[in-house]
Every structure is written in structure tokens, then in C-alpha cells.
């Protein structure tokens, strides 16, 4: 799906490219927001969410998760830059015709500045000024030596290598100050808004949220400033900036955690409800389907399905215009397959809960006064299942992000054309055994993945505590 926008918005004409996963991620974020807003009407749910956010841990981890989601969203607006028209080709080119680069960029690339466009020849260490490999160099006086060549971009703004440490300190302070300034602006606005609206909900730990936000912004400010001058986390084998690649991996990680669950959640909810509510042969069929799916080892089913989809893609290359579209199709297929293999657990839980609820007196009463099946499900059963859905969504998320790395290792994960932490971690197994060891690729991917998974895990613990009636009883 491509559509053109003339010059004006970005000074040069760009071709907005919408990948299917972009559409889905915006749709999903919208849907989740709507879901949360509609839950807000229910006082019981409000109280539960308030319990989550009145802990410092809950507020901080939520802010971190939101930062990841924001980066993923910004990275999901894609476009292709127009290629500069070549005079020699003018005779074939009509005046209006513009050719577009085959490389798909996103708004995140714009925000990160030059970071993605600083290719070196091969590996280089973090903050290095020289390459990691020795090469044959031709000195100005005509002599050939074998030494480490200087990097094309890392630290190229320095006139004199001795300024290195001073430059780092100055730019670090500058970057952190920029990030903090933006953070303070937003925090000030928010604090002012809170004061003006004067809501007396002082139990919410806004301060923890603000501090986390300020730390994230300071870190981002530092990374973006330094990332445009040096390779903060070095470069990988192809000479790409590791920090840039790790940041691009955020979108993949967030998407795989949300898409896989949400694509198939409708299936799980529909089948689980139908089986538990209508019972009889519907129940038998649904139970048969999920027992069959469960009994196939998950990893195997995923591997087999992905393999088959790859065969299909390779035999039908005409459907995809640029490489990223093919990678995107593969990625969506992977999410879908992951969903297919994981909906069974949720379905089983929902079926059991529906069975229990539909035996309750108020449901019988609703039947007796002639309320339709649809209305009973909508008004009496579904609201009582919402906590199971929320808990399973948050719990599945971190598992899926972690699973991506293993799947990429097996060779059925993310296409190498798409940045992913799994692919980066896999490369590390050979890179570590080089001499000297290349550790920065592993570190970059691992740190971002770990932070995301850890905050989701901590958050899901709190959500679980707040929403699970079993833990509620115990506390009472």
C-alpha cells in the first residue's frame, strides 16, 4: 500500500509506505486504549487499576513500557525517500516522474538523525575512532602500512584525536541537558494540569512516574546526541551502528508481544465463551480442537508452519515490491502462527470460567425473564471474564518477546531484513569467540530486551495481584 505526498511536508517528496503490521499496530493501540477507557467506567476496575498505579514499581514499569510502545509507534510510520533525479536519465524521465528509494525509512530514523546513516566497513568497538580490523593503508607519502584505519563517521567531527575525552564530556552533558529539558517541560505541564483539575487522587505515585520519565528522556537525549557523533555501541559486521539496530529492534519486540496475542484473542474469546455457555456438541468440538493443538509441541508446530510459509513466499515473489514488505509478511505470519499455538490456554481458562458463571443465579434469572443469549453474554458473562483476558495478555507478552530470540536461532524467526534482538543475540555466539571478543552487539540487544521483559514482568505481577480474585481473598 503506497501513496504519494508531494513536496512540502518534509521539504522533499516522499512516498508514504504502509506496511500491514503498521496498520495493525495503530489499530491495536487504539483498541487497547478504547478497552481501557471503557473499563474505566466500572468503579471496581478503576479501583483495581488504582491499586496497580499506587505502587512506585507499577508506575515506573508502566512508564518504561509506554516509552517502548511510543518508540514502536514512531517507528511504524514508514516512507520511502525520493531519489535525486539524475540528469543523464532525464531523457527517459518525464518531468513529474519521481523514483523512490528502495530503502524504507520511518519517522524514528528522522528522530535519530544521522544515526542510521553512518555505515562503517565492519566491526568497531564502542566509542572507537579506529576500525576493529587491520587493513592495508596507503599513507600520503606513498608508503603502505598495515594498521587500523580511521572510521568514516565515528568521531569524524574531531579535528584532533586528543580532544576526544573533552568532547565526550561536553557532548554528554549537552545531550543529557537536552533530554532533561524536554522531560521537565512535559512534567511541568502535567503537574500543572493535575493541579488545575485538582483531582484528589493523591494515592497515585506520579512522582515515581516523573522520575522514570526524566531518566528515560535523559538517556535518550544522551544516546541521540552521542549516537550522531560516535558509535556508542560500536558497529556490527556489516558496519551498521549497533545502537541504531537495537533501537529498531524495539518495534519488532513490541509488535511480536502484542500482535500474536491480539490477533487470536477474538478466536479464544469466541470459542471459549461458546463452549462454556452453550455446552453440548459445541463444547465437544471446541475441546477437541484445542486438545489436538495443545498436544502438538508448540515449537514444532511453529517451526513447521513457518517453514511452509517460507516455501510459499519463495514461490510467490511477485506479491512483494520491496524487501521489507516480504519481511513484513513473514513477520505477520510468524505472529499469527505464534497466536494460533498460544490461544488454547486462554480458551481453556475462559471456557472453565464461563461454565462456572453461567450456573449462577443471576444468569438463570436473566434466562427466566427472557433475555437473549447475546445480551446475557454481553452484559453478564463477558464483564466477569475481563480480568482473565487482561492477566493472560500481560503474562503472554514477555514470553513471546523471549520466544522470538529462540525462534530466530532455530531459523524460523524474524527475517534478517528486519532488525530484531533475537538475530543480534544469535550472532553474538560466534562474535564472542573472536579475539578480542565482540561483546557490544550482545549487550545492546540484551539490555533493551531485558529492560522491556523485566518491566512487563513486574507490571504483570502487580496487575495479577490487583485483578486475581484469589489473591484478593487471601489479603482480606
Amino acid at each position: 500500500m503506497d501513496f504519494e505526498i508531494g513536496p512540502g511536508l518534509l521539504n522533499e517528496s516522499v512516498l508514504w509506505t504502509i506496511l500491514w503490521s503498521d496498520v495493525l499496530i495503530f489499530f491495536l493501540v487504539g483498541a487497547i486504549t478504547f478497552f481501557i477507557l471503557s473499563l474505566k467506567k466500572n468503579p471496581q476496575n478503576r479501583e483495581r487499576w488504582q491499586q496497580v498505579f499506587s505502587t512506585r514499581l507499577g508506575m515506573s514499569s508502566f512508564v518504561i513500557i509506554m516509552a517502548y510502545v511510543a518508540v514502536a509507534l514512531v517507528d511504524s510510520v514508514h516512507f520511502r525517500k525520493a531519489l535525486p533525479s539524475i540528469p543523464a536519465a532525464a531523457q527517459w524521465q518525464t518531468s513529474e516522474q519521481v523514483f523512490y528509494s528502495n530503502e524504507v525509512n520511518s519517522l524514528l530514523d528522522l528522530a535519530l538523525g544521522e544515526m542510521g546513516e553512518m555505515p562503517e566497513r565492519t566491526y568497531s568497538a564502542p566509542f572507537a575512532l579506529k576500525s576493529w580490523n587491520k587493513e592495508n593503508l596507503l599513507l600520503p607519502d606513498g608508503e603502505r602500512v598495515r594498521d587500523y584505519p580511521e572510521l568514516a563517521f565515528g568521531g569524524s567531527h574531531l579535528d584532533n584525536p586528543e580532544d576526544f575525552s573533552r568532547d565526550i564530556v561536553v557532548n554528554s552533558l549537552l545531550g543529557i541537558a537536552k533530554g532533561l529539558a524536554i522531560a521537565l517541560l512535559f512534567i511541568g505541564l502535567h503537574a500543572g494540569w493535575l493541579k488545575k483539575n485538582g483531582s484528589g487522587t493523591t494515592t497515585l505515585q506520579w512522582r515515581a512516574g516523573w522520575i522514570t520519565f526524566a531518566i528515560i528522556m535523559a538517556a535518550l537525549g544522551w544516546l541521540v546526541t552521542m549516537g550522531n557523533l560516535y558509535h556508542v555501541l560500536g558497529t556490527d559486521q556489516a558496519g551498521n551502528d549497533t545502537l541504531y539496530e537495537s533501537l529498531k529492534g524495539i518495534r519488532t519486540g513490541v509488535l511480536i508481544g502484542t500482535l500474536a496475542t491480539l490477533i487470536t484473542m477474538p478466536v479464544a474469546i469466541t470459542l471459549g465463551l461458546a463452549a462454556g455457555y452453550f455446552k453440548g456438541w459445541i463444547d465437544d468440538v471446541v475441546q477437541y480442537i484445542y486438545t489436538t493443538l495443545i498436544s502438538i509441541p508448540g515449537l514444532l508446530l511453529i517451526a513447521a508452519s513457518v517453514l511452509l510459509f517460507q516455501v510459499w513466499i519463495n514461490n510467490n515473489p511477485d506479491y512483494f515490491e520491496v524487501g521489507l514488505e516480504k519481511a513484513d509478511a513473514k513477520f505477520l505470519a510468524l505472529c499469527f502462527i505464534l497466536g494460533i499455538t498460544s490461544w488454547t490456554t486462554l480458551c481453556r481458562l475462559l471456557r472453565a470460567e464461563t461454565l462456572k458463571i453461567s450456573q449462577l443465579d443471576y444468569v438463570h434469572a436473566a434466562h427466566a425473564i427472557g433475555v437473549s443469549h447475546f445480551q446475557i453474554i454481553k452484559r453478564h458473562i463477558l464483564p466477569n471474564l475481563s480480568h482473565i483476558i487482561i492477566i493472560s495478555f500481560v503474562l503472554d507478552f514477555s514470553g513471546l518477546v523471549l520466544a522470538e530470540a529462540v525462534l530466530s536461532y532455530i531459523g524460523v524467526g524474524i527475517d534478517p531484513a528486519m532488525a530484531s534482538w533475537g538475530n543480534m543475540i544469535n550472532m553474538a555466539s560466534t562474535e564472542l569467540s573472536r579475539e578480542p571478543a565482540i561483546w557490544w552487539n550482545l549487550c545492546g540487544a540484551f539490555f533493551l530486551m531485558f529492560t522491556l521483559v523485566l518491566s512487563v514482568n513486574l507490571f504483570s505481577d502487580l496487575v495479577n495481584d490487583a485483578f486475581d480474585p484469589k489473591t484478593k481473598l487471601e489479603a482480606a
Binding site: 502438538i296 509441541p297 513447521a304 543475540i425 544469535n426 540484551f446
Partner: protein
């Protein structure tokens, strides 16, 4: 009991048929044998004849479900469905793309897989339960919250990271054990000790946290309070009252896994070059050898169903109130 087991085995048949049909649809209808041949032989410089030869060689040239030309009973048996899918029920897995007999490969490779998976599993459970019980003694205190924090942190680390870092520091830098390889017999322990250790450490976070929440649920019940009230020591409450009562949920989570241990671990085996079923499957996936993948899907399902039956039987052993009928 025996009638119950037999009945459960009969229940397993429709499920296995379902698994079989699903894999058949995936492997032969979604992708035709011709697609597979193309994937194998490559797109370029491949002649129509080469594709037909490949298909005939693998036995995919027969009709899918019904062979009208063969006549009689053969019209049902001389089909792809019968030869490639139905025969799996007799554990006749056929030959791999390299022409090796899959069944004898599987039998050969079960041993190494088990040598790695069984100790990891048993020692892992023992350590997880011990850690969870220790944490339970301090429940509600700062130490408890600290321990849960550690569990969650350990859970959030990628499995691959444990393997890569463990292999790097223990085998490559410190040279305490060989980096990878396998040896039959007692001598093999040097190769196995590192993957077993990594497997256990990688599982501690999630495992201990799960057991802890299980024990806390049980320890909040009335009988535990009564036991404490009548003066049973804390250790006595733990081992005589809480542990036996937590046995059913533990068995539910644990017994089902035991048969699937035969399948081995995909990632661990390939990192440490252990010639088990996990690395066998991984090689097959990477070489797109669909015959092996199909056989393993079926084998995995059979083992899982056996696990379910074993779980039910173990209930009667753990809780005398449970009667199978």
C-alpha cells in the same frame, strides 16, 4: 485402573488422527509436493524433469487420498495419505531426504537427549522446590520480596543469553569443561555438566516463583493454620502439611513433561553439539527436511498424550481420594 488406561488410550486415537490430518493438510495441501521440490532444488537452473524425479523419488507422485488406477484395496493404500500419514501410527516414519531410515535415527538419538534432559529436569525440580520452600519460611518479609525480585529478574533473561554467556565464560575462557561434544558412557559427564548446569540456572527463576506461589496458596488454608495452632513446628508444617497438599498441582505441571524429555532440547543440544533428537530436528528444520519434521510432530504428540495419561495415574498415587474410573 486398567480399564481406565485402555479407555484413555482410545480417547487418544481421535486426537492423534486430528494431529495427523493437520500435519497432512499443512505439508501436502497448503504446499504441494511441487512447491517442496522447488524449495529443495532451488529456483534457478531446475528442469521440470528434475522436479518430477524428486517427487517420484520421495514417493509424493501418488494421488493424495484415492488412487483410482490401482483398484481394490490398493486404491486406498497406494496414496500419499496412507504412505506418509497413516503409516506414522505404526511408527513407520519412512526415509529422510538423505535416504536414512528416520526410525532408527530417532532410536539412536534418544539416549543422548535423555542423558541431557533427565538430569536437568530432576535436579532442576529439586532445586526449585528447595529454593521455594526456603523463601516460604520468610514469607511477607523483606527477604521474601527480595527473592521474588531475583526470580523475576532471572525470568526476564533470554534463554539464549544464559547459554551464550555460560559457554563463553565457563568453557571458552576458564576452560573448565570442553566447549561442546558428546561421549557415550560414564566418560560423557564432562560434556554434559555445563549444559545441565545452564539448563538448571535458566529454569530457577520461573520455576521457584511458580512453586512459591503454589505453596503460599496452600499455606493460607485452614489446615495449615490449625497445624500451627496445635504447636507443630514450622518445618513440620512445611513438610508434613503443605508439601503433600501441594502435590497435586505440582504433579499436574511436572508429569506431563516427563515423556517429552525424550524429544530433547532444540537449542541446548545444538549449542553443545549433543547428537540428540533436538539437534536432529533442528538440522531437519534448517535443511527443510519435511519428512523428519512430520515424524517428530507426530512423535511429540504421542509423547504428550502419554504424559497426560501418566498425570492422571500419578494423582491416584499422590492423593488416595482420587479414583480413576
Amino acid at each position: 485402573m486398567l480399564t481406565y488406561i485402555i479407555r484413555r488410550l482410545f480417547y487418544a486415537i481421535p486426537i492423534l488422527i486430528g494431529v495427523n490430518l493437520l500435519t497432512f493438510v499443512l505439508f501436502f495441501i497448503v504446499n504441494t509436493p511441487e512447491d517442496m521440490a522447488r524449495a529443495h532444488l532451488g529456483d534457478k537452473y531446475v528442469t521440470e524433469q528434475a522436479i518430477q524425479d524428486w517427487i517420484a523419488d520421495k514417493g509424493y507422485d501418488q494421488p493424495l487420498f484415492f488412487n483410482a488406477a490401482a483398484g481394490g484395496l490398493d486404491s486406498l493404500t497406494e496414496t500419499v495419505f496412507f504412505n506418509k500419514s497413516v503409516k506414522l501410527f505404526a511408527f513407520d516414519f519412512g526415509a529422510s531426504d538423505e535416504g536414512r531410515n528416520i526410525r532408527s535415527d530417532v532410536v539412536d538419538r534418544m539416549g543422548p537427549s535423555l542423558a541431557l534432559a533427565l538430569p536437568t529436569f530432576l535436579i532442576g525440580i529439586w532445586i526449585n522446590i528447595t529454593v521455594a520452600l526456603m523463601v516460604l519460611m520468610f514469607r511477607g518479609s523483606k527477604l521474601d520480596r527480595f527473592a521474588v525480585g531475583i526470580f523475576v529478574t532471572l525470568m526476564s533473561v533470554s534463554y539464549l543469553f544464559y547459554i551464550i554467556v555460560g559457554q563463553h565464560f565457563i568453557a571458552k575462557i576458564s576452560r573448565l569443561v570442553p566447549v561442546s561434544g558428546f561421549n557415550d558412557g560414564i566418560d560423557g559427564w564432562r560434556f554434559l555438566i555445563l549444559p545441565i548446569l545452564i539448563g538448571i540456572i535458566a529454569g530457577i527463576g520461573a520455576g521457584s516463583r511458580w512453586y512459591r506461589s503454589l505453596f503460599i496458596e496452600v499455606s493460607g488454608q485452614d489446615f495449615a493454620r490449625t497445624a500451627r495452632a496445635k504447636g507443630v513446628s514450622e518445618a513440620g508444617v512445611l513438610f508434613r502439611h503443605i508439601l503433600p497438599n501441594a502435590m497435586l498441582p505440582i504433579l499436574t505441571g511436572v508429569v506431563v513433561v516427563i515423556p517429552t524429555l525424550f524429544m530433547g532440547s532444540l537449542v541446548m543440544e545444538s549449542f553443545f553439539s549433543i547428537p540428540g533428537l533436538g539437534s536432529y530436528l533442528l538440522d531437519a528444520i534448517r535443511a527443510q527436511d519435511f519428512a523428519i519434521v512430520r515424524a517428530m510432530v507426530f512423535l511429540g504428540s504421542v509423547l504428550y498424550i502419554i504424559g497426560l495419561i501418566l498425570t492422571d495415574i500419578s494423582y491416584t498415587w499422590a492423593d488416595p481420594r482420587v479414583r480413576l474410573s
